[in-house]
C-alpha cells in the first residue's frame, strides 16, 4: 500500500473543450462535436468521444474531419469559457490539498499525501475528488493515483473516459515491464527513435540500460531517462501559491490563406508582437529571448530563436529581433500557413531610465498605447503596417 510513499493524483479532464460545449448546449449532447479555431483552415482542438468513434483526432484539419464524419458539428472555441471552468476546477481541488498544480488548461496534479487524516485513504480520496469536480462543473474527468507525477500521469490515461486507475508503489515495476517507452511523459518521437536505435523500446529496458550508454548518447538527459525507466520521479507538486510564475508568453496565428509574400508575413509577425507585448506588460515582465515559429503549407513546422543581453519589452524591440531571425532563415522554402511569436527568459519589467531621450519617449509611448488598448480592446491603437494584413483578410473575406 502507500506507507511512506507519496500519493500523487493526476487529473485529466475528458475531451475538455467538447465536453464544456456539450454541457453548455443540450442540443449537441451525445453527438459528434469538434471544437476548432475560427478560420476555415483551422485544426481540431478537441473532439467529443462521439466524434472520436469516427477516427477524428486532435490536430486534424476541418476537411479531414468532415471526410470522416460529414455530419460532425463544429463549434468555434471560446478560451474565456474554458479558462473560467479551469479555475472553478482548481477551486474544487483546493478543498483536498494546498499542493495543487495547474499543469495545463485541462490537467492538474495534486499531492494528497498529507490529506489522508482529513479525507481518508488515497483510494477513497481520489473518488471524492472526481465527484467534487463533477459536482462543481458537471464535467467528467479521469484520474491516476500513483507514488509519483510520472506514474500518475501514465495512470490517468489508462481508463478514459471518466476513469480511475490506481498504481500502488509495489506495482510500479510491473506496469513498466512491457510499457512502450513513448508512453512515458517526456519521451517524444525523436527520443523514442534514438532509443530504439539502441535496442531500447520498453520502459524496463530503459531502466536497466547502462548509464554510460544513455549519457554518451543523450548527455545529462541520460540520467533522467534512466530514472524514468525505473519509474523514479522526485519532482514535487508545488503549493498552489508557488505556482504562477510564467515562463513564456506566445501567440500564433493560422493565416487565412497560405502566403509567400514577405511584407504580408512581416505584417502578421508585427501583429503577433503586439499581442505578446500586451501580455508582457500585463504581467509586468520583460524578456531576453524571442522565438519565431513558422509552419509551411505542408505542415512542416520549425522554430528559431535569438537571445539578447538586454531586456525586451516593446513591440518594436521584439519585432526587430523577429526580423533578424527571418533574415537568418533566408528565403522561405514554401508558402506559410501559420506564424508564431513567443518570448522566454522572462524577467521583472525593466524600469530603467534611458539616457537617450528618444528611447525613453518610445518606452513611454508604448506603455501609453498599451494602457489604451487595455481599456478599449486589443488593437484600438496599432501600427500602420498592420493595416496590410487586415486589408488582406478583408479582401479575401469579400471574395
Amino acid at each position: 500500500m502507500w506507507n511512506d510513499a507519496k500519493a500523487i493524483v493526476h487529473l485529466d479532464m475528458d475531451a475538455y473543450f467538447a465536453s464544456i460545449e456539450q454541457l453548455s448546449n443540450p442540443l449537441i449532447r451525445g453527438k459528434p462535436v469538434i471544437v476548432t479555431g475560427k478560420g476555415p483552415r483551422t485544426v481540431i482542438a478537441t473532439a467529443s468521444y462521439e466524434a472520436r468513434k469516427y477516427g477524428i483526432e486532435t490536430g486534424m484539419t476541418l476537411i479531414q474531419a468532415e471526410r470522416l464524419c460529414p455530419h460532425v458539428m463544429r463549434v468555434v472555441g471560446n478560451p474565456a469559457k474554458y479558462l473560467y471552468t479551469t479555475l472553478k476546477i482548481r477551486e474544487a481541488l483546493l478543498h483536498f490539498s494546498d499542493r495543487v498544480e495547474l499543469y495545463s488548461i485541462d490537467e492538474f496534479f495534486l499531492d494528497i499525501t498529507l490529506s489522508q487524516s482529513l479525507f481518508g485513504p488515497p483510494e477513497e480520496m481520489v473518488e471524492k475528488i472526481k465527484n467534487k469536480v463533477r459536482e462543481a462543473t458537471g464535467l467528467p474527468c479521469s484520474c491516476g493515483l500513483a507514488p509519483s507525477k510520472l506514474i500518475a500521469k501514465l495512470a490517468s490515461k489508462m481508463n478514459k473516459p471518466d476513469g480511475l486507475a490506481i498504481i500502488h508503489p509495489e506495482k510500479v515495476a510491473d506496469i513498466l515491464k512491457d510499457l512502450p517507452i513513448e508512453k512515458l511523459h517526456g519521451i517524444g518521437e525523436k527520443t523514442r527513435k534514438n532509443l530504439s536505435h539502441l535496442g531500447i523500446t520498453k520502459a524496463s529496458e530503459l531502466g536497466h540500460a547502462p548509464l554510460s550508454l544513455l549519457t554518451s548518447h543523450f548527455g545529462v538527459y541520460g540520467y533522467m531517462l534512466k530514472s524514468m525507466g525505473k519509474g523514479i520521479d522526485n519532482s514535487s507538486v508545488p503549493y498552489h501559491w508557488e505556482q504562477g510564475e510564467i515562463k513564456s508568453i506566445g501567440h500564433s496565428y493560422t493565416l487565412p490563406f497560405d502566403t509567400s509574400d514577405p511584407e504580408l508575413i512581416k505584417s502578421y509577425i508585427l501583429m503577433l508582437c503586439q499581442k505578446v507585448t500586451t501580455r508582457l506588460r500585463r504581467e509586468e515582465k520583460s524578456s531576453r529571448t524571442v522565438v519565431l515559429t513558422i509552419r509551411y503549407n505542408d505542415f512542416e513546422t520549425f522554430s528559431r530563436q535569438r537571445t539578447v543581453d538586454y531586456l525586451l519589452d516593446t513591440i518594436y524591440e521584439i519585432y526587430h529581433i523577429c526580423l533578424k531571425i527571418l533574415q537568418r532563415i533566408g528565403k522561405l522554402a514554401k508558402p506559410v500557413r501559420l506564424l508564431g511569436v513567443s518570448v522566454t527568459s522572462l524577467a521583472e519589467e525593466s524600469r530603467q531610465l534611458y539616457l537617450l531621450e528618444k528611447l525613453e519617449e518610445e518606452k513611454k509611448l508604448n506603455r501609453a498605447i498599451g494602457e489604451i488598448n487595455d481599456k478599449f480592446g486589443e488593437f484600438a491603437i496599432k501600427p500602420a503596417s498592420l493595416l496590410l494584413s487586415e486589408e488582406f483578410e478583408h479582401q479575401r473575406a469579400v471574395k
Binding site: L23, N25, P26, L27, M73, A80
Partner: protein
C-alpha cells in the same frame, strides 16, 4: 449550427446574493422565456467584466452576455437545430 447575432437585447433578470439569473429576454420584439441556464462563465474586454450565460429557450440555445461596466445585455449567438 451556431449563428452569430451580436445585437443588444432587453433582459429580465434577478440580481440576488451576488448572482445574476436571467429569466427572459426580448429580441426582435419577441419575448423568449429562459427555460434553463445551461452554462455560465466570465470574461473581460478591456476593463469591463462580462458575464456570459448559455440559455435554453423553445428548442434553441442562446448565448447572452451582461457587461457589468455598461449594464447592457447582448445576444451573442444562437444555436438552432
Amino acid at each position: 449550427m451556431y449563428t452569430i447575432i451580436d445585437e443588444p437585447i432587453l433582459v429580465g433578470a434577478i440580481f440576488s446574493s451576488g448572482k445574476v439569473i436571467p429569466r427572459f429576454f426580448i429580441w426582435n420584439r419577441r419575448k423568449y422565456q429562459v427555460e434553463e441556464v445551461t452554462y455560465f462563465w466570465r470574461s473581460k474586454i478591456g476593463v469591463a467584466q462580462i458575464l456570459h450565460f448559455a440559455v435554453a429557450s423553445y428548442g434553441s440555445v442562446y448565448e447572452i452576455s451582461y457587461n457589468l461596466k455598461t449594464s447592457n445585455w447582448h445576444l451573442e449567438k444562437v444555436y438552432v437545430e
